[in-house]
Assembly symmetry: C2
Homo-oligomer: 603 residues x 2
């Protein structure tokens, strides 16, 4: 049975060596008191909780799933008690502002803790992970009366939170949303008009459970005078229980049967005149929700590689033990009946692929989390703007590139175990099923790609992309004279040039074919993900070179991983750019251009 | 709920237009009577069985799974009755020789029927699909006495069959096999020495069930005087029930809990002095087993794309109905509140990717099945030899490339449905879980890659590869003057050259680094898969060009699919060749070369 081992050394490498995070955080007044010890001890504590409390519940959560009886949901054995330990340990407060009773740790710490919790037990973490984003929405958009009523409980974790966005007929396109809100002025609070909400919502994580007495639901619905589309959606705070303890008119209709994440209570919910209070301005609910969404997208990427990490660890342990066949160049362990499969080049390739992409994911995820801290807290406006631009540009990349990598990586881990990986016993197939959803929720990876290309790259004429490319080229220039870096600098530089050229080409083609950016979006996102990983691996390599001969081989392994990534995985980026180029030309072989009905048959 | 629709038009395109199979089969005396109508009616009949009888059992099979009580396995409701219909319909006899009471249809027909059955219900098909390979082993290697005893029941399906190969400690490396056989001369049959077998086997498909009264197990075990390794493995026929109807000493210890294929009774089995008879020569069991294995590998590739086809069909139907957002260039269906997502370029990309790879899989699978018929039955020795070489070279490609594509395609189908795809309701997530195993069984895809590069390409100094490349280049030369084909001919020719160059490079590097072929094997296999698909799509396009304006757009869609594949997916092959090139250089950035223990940490 798989256990989870927090990758503390690798996390520290990114936080301290790659990002020099403590010293950069201390440039910001909000984090003037943050030192390396404080960060490390928060992370070490979360690691103990992840390893000791929730990791042991991961398999049983999948086995038992959740059930609903008469509208009350029961989660797997041990989940509720673990949540009790979580709030007793003060974990929900960690990244909330000190003004709200939190510890005021940076987003970077929050992201590292998300990694640890999700790596140990993604299903359990689904419910608590949401509260930080909801905290931000409520603290930034809710009225003082609502904040007074709910913020302390959100911060200390004595309530959990949900988002009620999706309806059966609308997911990516919230403009089609039908749930309604009608005024209930008899329940108005100061600056907080009350409404009765009606509608049906699906895919609600943590919609109900036995962990806490109350739950705060954030609900998107339309006011009676709402314009159609996304400009007519408002946000409401709808508690499970009202002030008098009575249940609100919100019912779990069923627990959804999912491929994975079976320990997480994902439910369909019916609102039947449930009482709620407007948060933020009428018709501007989506903007408020996007505070949460951007953080959730970044953290979905982090979550994804962390789930893959657990699969990788199990595969690595198996590959060291499992004996099959001899290495072609001669027995590595003549004392054993066969060689441990870790010595077989193809198994080494599978393990290195996982290792490289997980480490790349961590570098990108933490870098962007630090950008988020800089965007919010840095005293220098130019620094804030640059960080905001990088974060905006690369959030869709982190969400989609990391989640698609993670699924492939968990599958590679399964493959290392062969038939044994296909059995439930090793816990890897669960991780494959669990992590699959990361490509879907918080905006499908297709939505991310469209966001990246249309809004983030073409939308500002390439300003944000220029900032990234300038940063990458500047770094490569500093390494150009280091012979050991040549193998990395050349291909990364060529990829940066090729990506830029294709972005310019798309901007041109778009003038005559407005669908071209959407057709190329997936491949552009993949290519940019590779470029970011190449850049980050090159930085990691430059840091590691002076330590290449250290006795523990830690930095030597970073160098080898960087080379593997850049020379064996990154070439895929050029294939994606070729596909992006071709996609903009449409399908016209033989002079025939087909619409979808003809291309796919009559249907 | 998903239903299965047999892709008869696409199958006919490959059989009749691409391969001109009936006329080529009629060149062989064994198939002199085969005409198009006979082939088509067999396929149409199998399609009705697949659609009407076993497809409706696919979801319930996953839901119910199999259970074992006191060593007796029960399969999901309806499975046994469906098998009764299968044998009543005469399906098991179809591809068996007329001399054995079969209908004598070609391997091509068998492969097409495998596609239909697996596409409808992979779990159900797991058990009957094995019997054709076992039929071949028994009819070619068993003594007349054993043939007389068992062949009629195998041919008519009144017994099912299994293979007992894998043991807990050995899968890819059967040389480590421990099961033993000791002589039991009192049970000898003419030319068929009897043995008592002992050992533990795992991953046994169809090990027990309530479908038939008896089951024929083919078991690998060691004779007392066996040399170690793969040259000391013998093959035995071990019936579930002996001549007097008494149960043999073979017990199902448990049903294995798998990620998917839950309707298939995959079991761990214990042999406790079970009575069996030697098949073939002592110590030469693996060679006999490989008769089955090569057929099983090809059919695993076919099975895989057929499971993906079911997912694709569900995704396509969903994409036509689901309304979300407007296409960037303007509403396609202004009469509806949003556009059907099939019109969104990224959804179109996902669907076309699936369509192209499924169609490519069918072209490769049927082509190789026809090669198998030619290898066995063609009157011309040179034709037989060429077909045998192509089949040997490309069987590992068909197994691995098609199974990895199929998993990705089923996942793309799931992605088209977004969160709805992650629910069990649409049946796609089951297909993802089911088809995952195709990358593992019948030799993992890593084993296939090693077989391709070391044995099939480098092992004969490139003779088989030359035959393939010559065929491809010859075809491309015939198309060079057709303007509409230029977009295909150029890239495919460049890929053929690049692949050949990398194969030559590997042959050189191997002289100093004997592990280099294994390190490059995965990427070489992927690149060769792309080259084969490119070639087959170009052939399909050349056939389709004259029909580009046909009213039903069938051939125009083939042209568009070919262009999509060659221009948007095939470029990945060049990235794989680049990775293959780099892999042969090892990881030496900073002058450090790390062994596995250092590369992956101390462990």
């Amino acid at each position: 049975m798989a256990t989870y081992i927090a990758p503390l050394r690798d996390m520290a490498f990114v936080i301290h060596e790659l990002l020099r995070a403590p010293e950069r955080l201390r440039q910001m007044p909000a984090f003037a008191e943050i030192d390396a010890d404080l960060l490390d001890s928060a992370i070490a504590g979360a690691a103990r909780f992840a390893e000791g409390v929730i990791a042991p519940l991961n398999a049983i959560g999948d086995e038992m799933g959740c059930r609903v009886d008469a509208g009350k949901v029961t989660t797997p054995t041990g989940f509720a008690a673990a949540y009790r330990q979580y709030i007793d340990g003060g974990w929900p407060t960690l990244s909330c502002a000190t003004a709200h009773g939190g510890l005021g740790l940076p987003a970077l710490a929050h992201t590292a803790i998300v990694e640890l919790l999700c790596g140990a037990n993604q299903s359990w973490t689904m419910t608590p992970i949401l509260s930080h984003g909801i905290y931000k929405i409520v603290s930034q958009h809710a009225s003082p009366a609502l904040q007074q009523a709910w913020l302390p409980a959100i911060v200390d974790g004595s309530v959990t939170t949900t988002m009620l966005l999706t309806e059966a007929h609308c997911g990516s396109d919230l403009g089609l949303l039908r749930s309604t809100a009608v005024a209930a002025p008899e329940h108005d609070l100061p600056e907080s008009p009350a409404y009765r909400l009606s509608g049906s919502k699906i895919f609600i994580s943590g919609a109900d459970h036995e962990w806490t007495d109350n739950i705060v639901h954030m609900v998107l619905a339309r006011l009676p005078d709402a314009p159609p589309g996304v400009r007519g959606i408002s946000l409401f705070l709808v508690p499970k229980r009202l002030g008098d303890g009575a249940l609100n008119a919100l019912t779990v209709t069923h627990v959804e049967h999912k491929m994975g994440l079976r320990g997480s209570p994902t439910c369909a919910v019916s609102l039947e005149g449930a009482l709620g209070w407007l948060v933020g301005k009428p018709h501007q609910g989506l903007a408020a929700m996007f505070i949460l969404m951007n953080e959730a997208r970044l953290n979905t990427g982090v979550q994804a590689y962390s789930v893959a990490q657990g699969a990788y660890d199990a595969a690595l342990a198996y590959a060291r033990e499992r004996l099959q066949m001899r290495v072609s160049s001669g027995a590595r362990r003549p004392d054993l009946p066969a060689d441990p499969i870790i010595h077989h080049p193809d198994v080494r390739r599978m393990l290195l692929t996982q290792k490289a992409r997980i480490e790349g994911g961590r570098m990108l995820g933490y870098w962007l989390a630090l950008c988020s801290d800089i965007e919010t807290h840095h005293p220098d406006a130019a620094e804030r703007a640059d960080a905001a631009d990088l974060l905006a540009l690369l959030t869709p990349v982190a969400k989609a590139f990391l989640s698609s990598n993670a699924f492939d990586d968990a599958n590679l881990a399964l493959q290392v175990l062969g038939g044994h990986g296909y059995l439930r016993d090793h816990g890897i197939e669960q991780r494959v099923r669990d992590v699959r959803v990361a490509q879907i929720y918080e905006g499908t990876n297709g939505v991310q790609a469209r966001d990246l290309v249309s809004r983030k790259i073409l939308g500002d004429g390439g300003v944000k992309l220029d900032k990234l490319l300038t940063r990458i080229r500047h770094f490569l220039a500093t390494q150009a004279k280091t012979p050991a870096m040549t193998a990395l600098v050349g291909p990364i530089g060529r990829l940066a040039d090729a990506f830029e050229a294709q972005a310019h080409r798309l901007a041109d083609v778009q003038k005559t074919d407005r669908d071209a950016p959407d057709a190329a979006a997936h491949d552009m996102l993949q290519a940019l993900g590779h470029l970011c990983f190449g850049y980050l691996f090159a930085r990691a390599a430059a840091i590691s070179l002076p330590h290449a001969d250290d006795a523990d081989h830690f930095h030597a392994a970073k160098l080898a991983t960087a080379q593997f990534y850049v020379c064996q995985l990154m070439p895929q980026a050029f294939a994606h750019l070729e596909a992006a180029r071709a996609s903009a030309q449409g399908n016209e072989l033989g002079g025939v251009k087909l619409d979808e009905a003809r291309l796919f048959g009559a249907g």
